[in-house]
């Protein structure tokens, strides 16, 4: 390779492009769209089933609060800009956005006018959650989902497993459809980065706030008993009576949170960290009733779906061949008799 070209390939720009825009299968992104949009659609339809404080069921309560308690996040002010900077959305608008977001959830999930539907679905969710968090209290649950919905809207998430891709195939049956694209990789990778930053923030702020006292086991035991007592969770109260277990869970939590970023450096470590983080969130729900279910479909970004489908197809083919062989050997045995 000529020296100049070699030098150009090693430039920061080239490295950046090679990292974020490496051609990736559209299917991987499409499965994430189906799972994340599908899950959020379900949450909008049945908000109280999975959430303790569903923003979508409390609009009347928020709307009745006085104006001076309203402090909108920047994103809500931007979305409300047509009505003027800092305008407070009326109840009717919130109810309309709720209904409209549910409606666009269907095409976003099925991949019909995917970009437009995903953009409207993401905007509706951003709008409603940002509004609910404009009165002092806020929660972490929907933040990553809202960001990922936005990524889906500006990426080719409808290039596979969608009505759009079927329509294209039907229109031009002779033209082979692309299976990979260089804009199909970054949304999944960026969410992996956001997960890593989120967990690292959790671990770093715990150690910054408490030093190594956070590792004494009593800290986690206190929070476990506190939340279990508040939510009347008998499993949390009984587990909170075992200090040794709380100490082990403390280390487990800090290892998962503090080292989760390893998945960016050594992707194979996702085999440990993703199930471990899922177990952590399910355990937190079982004992402390904090419903971080939104993260479970988001963890789909760590799964190489196209390879999973290939493996499944191969496995099915092998099974079919094996059954054919059995049938053939049965026939030949019968013929001999």
């Amino acid at each position: 390779m000529p020296r100049a070209e070699h030098h150009a390939d090693r430039s920061w720009g080239a490295r950046w492009n090679a990292y974020w825009f490496r051609p990736a299968p559209f299917v991987d992104l499409a499965v994430c769209r189906l799972l994340v949009v599908g899950f959020q659609f379900f949450v909008l339809l049945f908000p109280t089933l999975l959430l303790k404080y569903p923003p979508y069921t409390m609009f009347d309560h928020y709307a009745a609060l006085p104006d001076d308690s309203y402090h909108a996040p920047l994103i809500l002010n931007l979305l409300m800009l047509p009505a003027g900077w800092g305008a407070r959305p009326p109840l009717e608008l919130l109810q309309f956005v709720y209904a409209a977001t549910i409606m666009v959830g269907v095409p976003a999930m099925l991949g019909w006018w995917t970009r437009t539907a995903c953009l409207l679905f993401a905007s509706g969710n951003l709008f409603m959650s940002a509004y609910a968090y404009s009165y002092g209290e806020y929660h972490h649950i929907e933040a990553l989902t809202c960001l990922f919905l936005t990524f889906l809207a500006i990426s080719p998430s409808g290039a596979a497993l969608s009505l759009d891709s079927r329509r294209r195939t039907r229109k031009q049956p002779a033209v082979p459809q692309a299976t990979h694209g260089e804009l199909a990789h970054w949304p999944r990778l960026l969410l992996q980065w956001l997960f890593s930053l989120m967990y690292l923030s959790g671990a770093a702020l715990k150690l910054f706030g408490s030093g190594f006292d956070w590792l004494n086991g009593f800290t986690l035991q206190y929070y476990l008993l506190q939340d279990a007592a508040f939510w009347d969770c008998s499993l949390g109260i009984s587990l909170g009576q075992h200090h040794g277990l709380c100490l082990a869970l403390t280390w487990f939590t800090l290892i998962v949170e503090g080292l989760f970023f390893s998945v960016l450096i050594w992707p194979r470590t996702a085999w440990f960290f993703v199930p471990a983080a899922s177990a952590l969130h399910l355990g937190i729900y079982a004992t402390m009733r904090a419903p971080f279910f939104h993260y479970l479909p988001l963890f789909a970004v760590f799964v190489p779906w196209s390879r999973v489908f290939e493996w499944l197809a191969r496995w099915r083919e092998e099974k079919r061949r094996a059954s054919l062989l059995v049938a053939e050997s049965g026939q030949s045995a019968a013929a001999h008799q």
Binding site: N17, W20, A143, L197, S201, L220, Y222, L225, A229, R289
Partner: protein
């Protein structure tokens, strides 16, 4: 839009998202209030830039011997032993029990309490309640097996009699 242009726009977006999340995640524009010398840097605290948040949850340390208060609602029937009333007995959520039922008992709001007890009253084989008693069954953070601390009586609300609710001992929880 050309592929090159799409890559450039996306790159700018990625850089902005990562930059904002990194700053907020480590509280750069919102250092803790405890560090007074950095108070001038508190320019943008969550949820101003929501959905970009820090994950500053459950950070304060706790030590052996600390006590967690646990408010328990006890129903005292006309006949029989007192019974612990849980949210499902009342047909309400745990959140409603904490945020509506318990404060109503504390305030002595008999009408509101009676309304919320309708579901309980409808159930067969349940003796009608005479009064509602709030109790604190504290839990002690400990390396011993025993984490239950001694119970304390709180507000008691008579449901039937006209006189104002009596307080056996106001425990302040």
């Amino acid at each position: 839009m050309s592929q090159r242009m799409a890559r450039q726009c996306t790159s700018a977006g990625i850089a902005i998202v990562l930059g904002l999340q990194s700053l907020i995640a480590f509280k750069i524009p919102c250092p803790p209030k405890a560090i007074e010398s950095l108070s001038h840097l508190r320019v943008c605290c969550p949820p101003t830039l929501w959905p970009f948040l820090d994950y500053n949850t459950y950070v304060a340390p706790h030590y052996e011997g600390e006590v967690v208060n646990r408010t328990v609602v006890v129903g005292i029937p006309q006949k029989g032993k007192p019974i612990t009333l849980r949210s499902r007995d009342l047909g309400i959520s745990q959140r409603q029990l904490r945020e509506k039922f318990v404060p109503a008992v504390r305030r002595g709001n008999r009408e509101s309490v009676r309304t919320m007890l309708r579901h309980f009253d409808k159930q067969k084989r349940r003796a009608p309640l005479n009064s509602i008693q709030l109790e604190n069954w504290p839990l002690k953070v400990s390396s011993d097996k025993e984490v239950l601390a001694s119970r304390r009586m709180g507000r008691r609300l008579e449901l039937e009699s006209a006189p104002s609710p009596t307080s056996l001992e106001t425990a302040g929880y």
